[in-house]
Amino acid sequence: MSVGVLITCGVLLTAAAILAMSRVERGPSMLDRIVAIDVMVAAIIGCLAILSAWSGRVDLVPVLMVLALVGFVGSVTLARFAAAEPDEERRILTPEEIAEADAKVRAELEEES
């Protein structure tokens, strides 16, 4: 593996991590953050992979295995907690609100077409 490949992959993955981090910061909800963190984990797995390919370190492979196995625990835990939020956020929209939103979307779609 050449230095060029290492640098290219490194830049791509760093950019990905920074973008994911910006979504973690902006939210707006915990679920958006956890989705962004999933991407972050993917970027970390990628970084470990290129590091391992560059240096030939086989001992990083178990770390990859652990990350792939454990990565979903955080998401599931947070998704469980997402139910315990204020009533205002928990409720599903009322029929009137949905009808209103629906009408709006349909009108917009008709305008577009």
């Binding site: 490949v5 990628g46 992979a49 086989v58 792939a68 599931v76 998704a79 956020e89 979307v105």
Partner: protein
């Protein structure tokens, strides 16, 4: 150009492609307007990106032991990714994080409303 050279080039290509997919996913997560759309973007590096990167890594390391372990990495990810995706998607829908105004068709809300009207009667 011998076999190991070809393997090296192939592994480089695969690793770059995987990194690129991760970056595009991050762009999608940053750019898409609502939770579910962001989740679509996030599934991509978890499945195809990971497969590409692990294939690249297997070619670069080139021992069969490691190849088996990397297959396991992909397998674990394929087993666990749908679990978290479903949990997050469902929690998002139930906690009202899904913006119905961005959906063209929303048959789940229709059905929930029908069920609620049924219960009211």
């Amino acid at each position: 150009m011998n076999v190991s050279d070809i393997a090296m080039v192939a592994s480089s290509v695969l690793l770059v492609l995987g990194s690129l997919l991760t970056l595009i996913a991050a762009i999608g997560v940053t750019r898409f307007p609502d939770l579910l759309a962001r989740m679509h973007a996030a599934t991509k590096p978890q499945v195809l990106g990971l497969v590409l990167m692990m294939a690249g890594l297997a070619l670069a390391l080139g021992t069969s032991q490691v190849t088996w372990k990397l297959t396991l990495v992909v397998l674990f990810q394929l087993i666990t990714a749908p679990v978290s995706a479903h949990m997050v998607g469902r929690a998002g829908y139930r906690t009202g994080k899904v913006r119905s105004d961005l959906l063209v068709v929303d048959e789940l809300t229709d059905d929930l409303r029908a069920a609620r009207e049924e219960a009211d009667r």
